[in-house]
């Protein structure tokens, strides 16, 4: 974890080693551009924000997490909200729950940058939060909604604050992004997205069913360079898939907190990983220089 790891002997181009990163950034930025096209250029493809929106003034999309908070706060749901939340839920069941985190959420660009700068400048200060903090916080957000009878968490939720701030030009709210960035950069590694954020925790629950998954399908090629563990923001998800041969685990990464960001695919010179679907657990072993066993 000390330095940026070697892009060693590989002769892959920058684009090849950053393919998914580039596609992901394009996805994150274009989603926000679509939201901004309305207010800035009067082109209304999508209106609202990630809490609730309308596509072409017809298709409703609603964040199931905020709707459930509203239920806990004692409100009943409208049909629009239910339909919108169902569409979003089905989508994330299809693509994998935490795809929200790495492909949609704008906070991710800031926390990724913090993580990258940490490695770059060798920032070691790190106060540790357990990974399950986010699930405790998720429970607390429902609890305070129930006790206060309001969407209390949404008063300070950096995820919605920043999105809303950017889309509606509320600059103080958007500024919270800087706070999250600095926290991740200076205080705790991958703290927000990887340990604390209850929004991510909520979306991870869809990951139990997520159809699109990363598979370590050529794990026999792995030369234990550890690059994927260093680059992964949720490094605990890789081990069972990559090293699980003896325990009959893998090669699919089924852990719900895998965000399908594709960094492991990008970073691996041995092309161990690829995107596939949940039912494809095929392993390809092309005995180039390995001594591992396939099954």
């Amino acid at each position: 974890m000390q330095t940026v790891t070697k892009q060693n002997d590989s002769n892959r181009s920058w684009l090849q080693t950053h393919k998914w990163l580039v596609i992901r950034r394009i996805s994150q930025i274009s989603i926000f551009t679509l939201f901004l096209l309305g207010p800035l250029a009067n082109i209304w493809v999508i209106k609202g924000n990630l809490s609730s929106s309308l596509i072409f003034d017809v298709i409703p999309l609603t964040d199931p997490y905020i709707i459930i908070q509203s239920l806990f706060a004692g409100q009943s749901l409208t049909n629009t909200a239910i339909i919108g939340a169902l569409i979003i839920s089905l989508f994330y069941i299809l693509v994998g729950g935490r795809v929200y985190c790495s492909w949609v959420c704008p906070i991710n660009i800031a926390t990724d940058s913090a993580s990258w700068l940490r490695k770059r400048f060798n920032i070691k200060s790190n106060s540790l939060f357990p990974r399950n903090t986010r699930y405790w916080l998720l429970a607390i957000t429902f609890l305070i909604a129930f006790i206060t009878g309001t969407l209390a968490w949404e008063l300070i939720n950096p995820v919605t604050l920043v999105q809303r701030g950017i889309i509606y030009g509320l600059w103080t709210s958007a500024f919270i992004l800087l706070a999250v960035f600095l926290f991740d950069l200076l205080i705790s590694r991958d703290a927000w997205c990887g340990h604390i954020c209850p929004v991510g925790a909520f979306y991870s629950l869809f990951g139990r069913l997520g159809l699109i998954r990363v598979s370590a399908f050529q794990r026999d090629n792995c030369d234990d360079c550890m690059d994927c563990f260093v680059v992964c923001p949720e490094e605990h998800v890789i081990k069972p898939a990559l090293r699980g041969a003896n325990n009959n685990l893998g090669p699919l990464i089924l852990e719900i907190n895998c965000t399908n960001c594709g960094r492991c695919i990008d970073v691996c010179d041995k092309e161990v990983f690829k995107f596939t679907h949940r039912f494809n657990s095929k392993i390809i072993s092309n005995n180039s220089d390995n001594q591992g066993s396939s099954q």
């Binding site: 309305g38 207010p39 209106k47 609202g48 924000n49 809490s51 609730s52 929106s53 309308l54 409703p60 609603t62 964040d63 905020i66 709707i67 509203s70 706060a73 004692g74 409100q75 009943s76 749901l77 409208t78 629009t80 909200a81 919108g84 939060f129 357990p130 399950n132 903090t133 405790w136 916080l137 607390i140 957000t141 609890l143 305070i144 909604a145 006790i147 206060t148 009878g149 309001t150 969407l151 209390a152 968490w153 949404e154 008063l155 300070i156 919605t160 604050l161 809303r164 701030g165 889309i167 509606y168 509320l170 600059w171 103080t172 709210s173 919270i176």
Partner: protein
Amino acid sequence: MSSRTPQTNTSRRRFLTETARTVCGVSLLGLSIGFYSNNARSLPATSLRPPGALDEKDFLAACIRCGLCVRDCPYDMLKLADIVDQAATGTPFFEARKAPCEMCEDIPCIAACPTNALNKSLTNIDNARMGLAVLIDQETCLNFQGLRCDVCHRVCPLINEAITLEPQHNTRSGKHALFIPIVHSDKCTGCGKCERACVLEEAAIKVLPISLAKGELGEHYRWGWKEKEKAGESLVTPDVTHQYNLPEGLKYDHAGEGLKKE
């Protein structure tokens, strides 16, 4: 009793301390958000909610802060609260003095709301109750000084219903009338046009939340004359026609002549 190796003991202890630490930290955070949310509930008197908004407490539970009402307002007078605003973060509001509600007949903000935060059962904008106009400063209101400003009355979308002008004697000049603007709470929608239009430096008429603007009778209280009308007669003591005990042959004339012979 199962045998415990020192190793499982340590890991159990570590698990327990770590969990306790997380739970404590997260609960403290939850507690402070809870207290903060209590403060955030006090909407400033100058911030008004869009038409059809539920009571503030329910509104803060039902509004998911998507801003679709803001987007669909054709006059762009609704704003979402920034984190520095006093209204709860992300919720829609407007300030009458800056930009009042234009009272669209189709109420697009309510149609846009994906939840119940803006009540869909409000279909006639005249029945909206965003607040209540109050002529709050009689000392500066021009009409109270005997001038014919009348601006609040004339801009009122429900002119002569929500605001009427009631003539009174002008004691200052002795020979003129004061036309006093009176707001009627059964008609006023709280749109804020009067506050916006008030010609003073600081408006003399202001739209306030109804909870601030309205008094409320004790539930036991009855207006005597209304009860009398309902019952057809006084409920307390029977009505007796007044009798003057005048010397015989005299009567009292109420029209101004006073005592006179019959």
